[in-house]
């Protein structure tokens, strides 16, 4: 009877490990969560306005875009790639979506639906090209997406003639600042995306093979899987998420400009890295990315309330990125790879 119970226990343990929840991963995510908690406690105690409902929903709104971009970035970094083009792509997707959104004679529903399709479609095309070019010619994604960074920015400026698009349907913008129990709806959208990404990465064949490729590409290829498909898919997913982020951006700020999103790719990469995902690929979780995005958001907000200048804030964020990787190195050494 006891023996039976025991096997039962290890079987669920094995099931969890297969879904990517080894004790080591849990420990890592818990560590990042603890760091976030300490930051929140610190700012709550040291500043007057940090722990107020208003400020909290403010933070959540602020991190939404970065979180959505970082979820896509997680897919790319897991296969050992990098996507430097998401900031420029955000601008390109936004101006394409914004142009559709301002077409006269469309009902609000039609305009929003078509604009969403257009923005996501633009992101998908750019992401597909990123993935396909780097996989087909065996080029480092760093180079290809550096090219796309310029192409997408140039395209955004070209189609708008460098002008800003505004005057979107009022109900669209009302949606952007909608709250449910003090939580911004756009943040809830980001959370849903995190949940979907978590499911895909930990429960599906697709996710399993992305981790596999990040760990040992050749073993995956020789086991009969098309590396091309999975690489292209990861970049395409990142592109689609850029399209969603572009819609959220327009709903919140009421404009679509070809010069938005500069440097956003680096914030997204920072969130992924602080969240414990390895830049070499094959290791990390989207839950870590969620926590990483929260840490950068809390830091940005808290340090300003603490009375530090924006310049100081930027320096401290930089220190945190480096610290996160150093801590990760030690953790790896202590618990064994």
């Amino acid at each position: 009877m006891q023996a039976l119970e025991k096997t039962q226990v290890t079987e669920t343990d094995d099931t969890r490990r297969l879904a990517g929840w080894s004790p080591k991963v849990l420990l890592r995510d818990a560590g990042i969560g603890l760091a976030l908690l300490l930051l929140i406690v610190f700012f709550s105690v040291s500043t007057e306005h940090f722990l107020t409902p208003n400020n909290i929903s403010n933070i959540l709104t602020q991190i939404t875009i970065n979180l959505i971009l970082a979820v896509g970035m997680t897919f790319v970094i897991l296969i050992g790639g990098i996507d430097l083009s998401v900031g420029s792509m955000l601008a390109f997707c936004a101006v394409v979506g914004g142009t559709v959104l301002t077409i006269p004679d469309l009902s609000v529903f039609q305009a929003v639906a078509l604009a969403t399709l257009a923005a996501i479609g633009t992101g998908v095309v750019c992401g597909f090209l990123n993935g396909w070019i780097s996989a087909f010619w065996g080029l480092p994604s760093f180079i290809v997406t550096l090219g796309m960074l310029n192409i997408a920015r140039g395209a955004a400026l070209q189609v708008t003639d460098a002008r800003t698009i505004y005057s979107f349907p009022p109900s669209f913008n009302a949606f952007g600042s909608q709250m449910i129990f003090g939580v911004p709806v756009v943040f809830l959208i980001a959370l849903v995306l995190v949940a979907i990404a978590w499911f895909v990465l930990s429960k599906t064949v697709f996710g399993r093979l992305l981790y596999g490729i990040g760990n040992n590409e050749e073993a995956v290829r020789l086991a009969g899987h098309s590396l091309m498909f999975y690489k292209v898919a990861a970049f395409t997913i990142a592109g689609a998420l850029v399209g969603i982020a572009a819609m959220v951006y327009m709903a919140r700020l009421n404009i679509a400009s070809p010069i938005i999103g500069i440097g956003f790719e680096l914030n997204a990469i920072a969130a992924v890295i602080i969240g414990g995902t390895s830049l070499n690929g094959g290791r990390g979780t989207v839950i870590g990315t969620l926590l990483g995005a929260c840490i950068t958001g809390v830091l940005a907000n808290g340090l300003i309330l603490f009375g530090l200048s924006d310049f100081m804030r930027q320096m401290i964020t930089g220190v945190v990125i480096i610290l996160a990787v150093i801590i990760d190195k030690y953790r790896e050494r202590l618990t064994g790879v």
Binding site: L18, A19, T204, V205, G212, A219, A223, G224, R283
Partner: protein, 521 residues
């Protein structure tokens, strides 16, 4: 002067003290004994051949001598003084130079920079004196007869043979007492080999001792004064070259006692149906128009022997479409078929256990179950969603069948020993129920106990009708497992042996003969 004297002393038959002496040197890596008591003595001004089968310990011995690997036991004396280098630099300071088998040149730097890389001539400001460097390099190349190479050229412009000679030139830049040449002729053509031999003769007359590692016995007989044979990490004998013969060396490399193992009669399980056949099958590196032709039956274990570089691994990789074949025909169960990717080969029923488990076979940092199901994910998922319970069940079933010793299906593959890791790779293919299984060095890095288990498993697979093609550098292994053995040399099949004809001497004779016939034109 001293050198001239020692040469004369030798000629007069007076025994001179050896310049290098090894006594009972041992070295283990993990559980594997690489060196198990090597003794060796090198006289000043002699060319000493060092031979042995793949894995006999030659490479480890060289690493010990040049300070890359520290031995566990044993004593080494260099010119009468204890010698135990801890860095390659220390070995060089002591006058010991190595020309390695794999290239250590920097491809984008010039020939001159490569030759002088260890001691670039510099002025007081630390700026390289280019003219002096180029003149020095010119002289060094002229000295070994490479007048046709421009020292300004980047090394990448040179052919492989010239690169090897540039390596030699670099090693000769420093006055050395002992020069180790590791398979120096492997990439050379006949003309360049002659050139190298002239250099060796010149060095010998100047009193430099040379350790000459080679697979080519004819070369050993041409250039060496003495020869030492290694087998399983031990010195079998050292002998004057005049007092031995090719046959004796081959026998010494193989070891006589192994033949008795062969006595145990194993009945072939081969069935009449053909599983796989190749007709004039060529891979990209194959230099021969006719390629490889062979026939493999269901339940048959076909061994492929040959020296390193004879094209065995390339053959398996081309069959599995890991690298696409160039031409020729592949028939699976009699029907011609061609694969454009490993995926197509796998779907047709071919499994491929690669030579390099860690780089190509396993995902070490992922769970054992994920590794077992890697090639059969469709069987353990529905609509793309993984069924973890099914994965665990498959792993437990195959784990029991293969006697896998593991902490649990969820533990990472990295936690397993070499033998158990190999069983996971086997399980990955068994989960697909293949028709043909290709095995490249199936017991590399596996301890003796697990080896026997893997042999038994391979026989079991054959019993079930699986057709097996096995490449191995360990001849006893091939002779234990195979129903038939093909010997490859220079990307061709040069001999075929049926079980009653198996002997290591015959296999090696085929392998070396093929080499000599084909080698140099």
């Amino acid at each position: 002067m001293i050198n001239a004297e020692t040469v004369r002393a030798q000629a007069a038959g007076v025994s001179t003290p050896p310049v290098l002496e090894l006594h009972d040197v041992k070295k283990s890596f993990g559980g594997t004994r690489a060196l198990n008591g090597v003794s060796l003595s090198i006289q000043p001004g002699e060319v000493h051949g060092l031979i042995g089968e793949n894995g006999a310990g030659k490479s480890t011995l060289i690493k010990v001598l040049c300070g890359i690997v520290r031995p566990d036991e044993g004593a080494i004396n260099l010119a009468g003084r204890p010698y135990m280098p801890t860095t390659p630099r220390e070995a060089k300071v002591n006058g010991l130079q190595v020309v390695h088998q794999e290239f250590n040149l920097l491809p984008y730097l010039s020939v001159a920079e490569n030759i002088f890389i260890e001691h670039l001539p510099r002025n007081a400001l630390g700026i390289v004196k280019r003219q002096e460097m180029h003149a020095g390099a010119r002289a060094a190349l002229d000295a070994i007869g490479l007048s046709d190479i421009d020292v300004h050229w980047p090394v990448e412009r040179l052919g492989i043979a010239h690169r090897q000679l540039v390596e030699v030139a670099r090693a000769l830049m420093t006055e050395s007492r002992i020069l180790i040449l590791d398979e120096p002729t492997a990439t050379l053509t006949a003309r360049e080999t002659e050139r190298l031999f002239a250099i060796i003769n010149d060095l010998r007359s100047r009193g430099v001792s040379i350790i000459f590692v080679s697979h080519h016995l004819d070369e050993v007989f041409r250039i060496c004064d003495r020869v030492t044979v290694l087998r399983n990490g031990e010195t079998v004998f050292s002998r004057s070259i005049a007092a031995t013969s090719q046959d004796e060396l081959v026998r010494a490399m193989v070891g006589r006692k192994l033949q008795q193992q062969m006595a145990s009669e194993i009945v072939s399980l081969a069935r009449p149906e053909e599983a796989l056949s190749l007709v004039n099958f060529r891979h990209l590196q194959s230099p021969h128009a006719h390629g490889i032709s062979l026939r493999l039956h269901r339940g048959e274990i076909l061994g492929i022997a040959g020296l390193v570089g004879s094209g065995r691994t390339e053959l398996l990789r081309a069959i599995a479409a890991a690298e696409l074949p160039l031409s020729g025909e592949l028939r699976l169960e009699g029907a011609p078929i061609s694969f454009r990717s490993p995926r197509e080969a796998i779907n047709a029923g071919i499994g491929f256990v690669t030579e390099d488990r860690k780089e190509e076979g396993l995902i070490l940092n992922m769970p054992i179950a994920a590794n077992v199901t890697l090639a059969s994910l469709a069987d353990v998922s529905r609509a793309g969603i993984l069924d973890a319970k099914a994965e665990i069940a498959v792993t437990q079933r195959l784990g029991a069948e293969l006697k896998l010793k593991y902490g649990g299906p969820g533990k990472n593959a990295a936690t397993l020993s070499g033998g158990n890791q190999q069983k996971v790779v086997l399980a990955k293919w068994l989960a697909r129920n293949p028709k043909v299984l290709l095995l490249d060095e199936p017991t590399r890095g596996v301890d003796v106990g697990a080896k026997a288990e893997i042999y038994a498993l391979i026989r079991q697979f054959a019993e079930r009708g699986l057709a097996l093609l096995i490449v191995s550098s360990e001849l006893p292994e091939l002779m234990t497992l195979s129903d038939r053995i093909l010997v490859m040399s220079q990307h061709r099949v040069v001999g075929e042996l049926s079980r009653p004809e198996f002997s290591e001497e015959r296999i090696l004779q085929y392998a070396y003969q093929g080499e000599q016939q084909q080698g140099r034109h």
